[in-house]
Amino acid sequence: MNTAVPASKRRAYEAPAYWRWLGFLIVAAIALPLPFLLKNFFIFQLTLAMVYAIAILGLNLLTGFNGQFSLGHSAFFAIGAYTAAILMDQYDVAYYWTLPAAGIVCFVAGFLFGLPALRLEGVYLALATFALALAMPQILKLSPLEHWTGGVQGIVLIKPNAPFHLPLNPDQWLYFFVFAVAALLFFCAYNLVSSRTGRAIKAIRDNPIAARTMGVNLSLYKSLTFGVSALYTGIAGALGGIAVQFVAPDSFTFGLSIALFVGLVVGGVGSIGGALFGAWFVLFVPNIAEQVSKGLAGAVYGVILVFMIYLMPFGLAGLVRMAAMRLARAKR
């Protein structure tokens, strides 16, 4: 058969550029006025949702685009948070400098973890990252490190004030700050994914052996992807720590890794926009579940998750993709 793939059959996440800009403008139009309309606590919750979205995006870069499986991203979230906390608490570094610092530290950590982890496939990689996630709180509680980490009690931080004496309270300022960082990071992610490097990364996911025979340096790209993925999640961790004003070992348990993972699945693997929906899901649905039934909160959450998976096995992004395809077919 010699039919070229028509535009309607190309995957929707490679949708034409104007869709993405339109989407962003709609999101911005809704998101930007919110801090002036809502109470501080809700602003805080939305800020946290954006933080989680960045973290899920980090996980997505790894799993969705590179096919590597990680249950350990809570560890990188923790490293980012603690890097920020230690810099702010012990060295009086300004909060905005902690972001690149957290990013770099996590990139290195992710890259170094990726090097040996590379050799593992599927289940084994999942187990290794599982072990990493469980180990992190334990490591953070280690007595020799207490001087920096503050041990079990952790480190307390102060929320930054708006600069240039802008008429915003700390919650509102942080919201806009996180929004700007998120927008920047999402933009970078889009570019990365559609670049030549991005194609190499996707090639590794789709057929590692073929990719290698075509000259793609598997080890390097896999480790780099791990590093970048950790970078994103680390920056999210730093932002999270600042937003919550507190870092402690038990904030970064395996449960967080699970939350990120669920957010990834529900939002849609391989979709950058899906990360937002995923973040919303893991932050707010547990609360809704608790409202439905205090004693059975976990079960209600589980049932909702089950329905989500049935209705949208490829996440929200998958649903959107299929709808777009049906629409495109109907047009012809």
Binding site: T63, P116, R119, L120, G122, V123, Y124, A126, L127, A128, F130, A131, L132, L134, A135, Q138, I139, K141, L142, P144, I209, I258, F261, V262, L264, V265, V266, V269, G295, L296, A297, G298, A299, V300, Y301, G302, V303, L305, V306, I309, Y310, P313, F314
Partner: protein, 292 residues
């Protein structure tokens, strides 16, 4: 020297628990070619069912076998009803489903039976078999039962036709269909068997760690450690791996000063990472040859 022997035996005792769990994990891995994170919760839930039956006056062995039957049916049904619609979905959705199952079972158990710690009877008695409280009859019985299960599984998978069919269905479902195997049924059977083994594991473990909804969380980790050390493709390896994890954990906790009680869990983790780095297929696992 005596201390060393003490700790080795104590390690074997706890290792028996891990070995049992590791066996259940490897079992489900062979059946569905994946890891079920809800395995521990299923075992816990089964144990609660057994406890409830005993509370209602059913004699121990009656409750035991009835629980096995219920667990098998439960596992079979979970595959047919809950997992089946996901046959075409990506693996990630499956894992998310396991997470959902975990939440439902854990929360459900807590709701039905509350979080108060309960006693669970042991059929082996509590007398000491070796020394003073070093290895109780129950500990020995647990190791024995695990080995018996192992033998049964080995024989089943190696020498029966259903065992072969199950292995084929897990390894290559499409080819399995092409030889006439009803793959869906095989998967469900695998889940049923894994649930059954999990139930046995739960009922053996509960007398030692006491029954409560969260009893399996750390044990599951040790089970994974044992399975990884021994090799996910080797049930015998899993049992040996579990015993080794118990012994190593105990010895490390006793003889390495930095590692107090709080870090014991890290031993399991360190083991997992070490084995995965050096020899991912575990001590006894088979490395699979892939022809391009």
């Amino acid at each position: 020297m005596e201390l060393f022997l003490h700790q080795v035996l104590a390690g074997l005792a706890t290792g028996g628990i891990y070995a049992c769990m590791a066996l259940a994990i490897v079992m489900i891995y062979q059946a569905i070619d994946g890891l079920n994170f809800a395995q521990g919760e299923m075992a816990m839930f089964s144990t609660f069912i057994a406890w409830q039956l005993i509370e209602w006056g059913v004699p121990f062995w009656g409750a035991f076998f009835l629980t096995l039957a219920i667990s098998f049916a439960g596992g079979y049904m979970i595959e047919r009803v809950i997992m089946r619609p996901l046959h075409n979905a990506p693996i990630l959705s499956h894992v998310a489903m396991f997470i959902a199952l975990f939440a439902i079972l854990n929360s459900g158990a807590g709701f039905i039976w509350d979080y108060q710690v309960k006693n669970f009877p042991t059929p082996f008695g509590t007398k000491s078999v070796i020394g003073e409280g070093l290895l109780s009859a129950h500990d020995a019985g647990m190791i024995g039962a695990t080995i018996v299960m192992l033998l049964f599984l080995f024989l089943f998978f190696r020498y029966t036709r259903i065992g072969l069919a199950m292995r084929a269905a897990a390894a290559n479902p499409e080819s399995a269909r092409l030889v006439g195997i009803r793959v869906g049924q095989m998967l469900a059977l695998g889940w049923g068997m894994a649930a059954l083994i999990g139930a046995i594991a739960g009922m053996l473990i509960a007398p030692v760690v006491f029954l409560e909804p969260n009893m399996m969380s750390s044990i599951l980790l040790y089970g994974f450690a044992g399975a990884v050390v021994g090799g996910l493709t080797s049930p015998a390896g899993a049992v040996i791996g579990g015993l080794m994890v118990g012994v190593i954990e105990n010895l490390a906790g006793t003889f390495i000063p930095v590692i107090g009680r709080e870090l014991k869990l890290s031993i399991a983790l360190a083991l997992i990472i070490l084995v995965l780095t050096v020899k991912p297929s575990g001590l006894f696992g088979r490395t699979v040859v892939h022809r391009v």
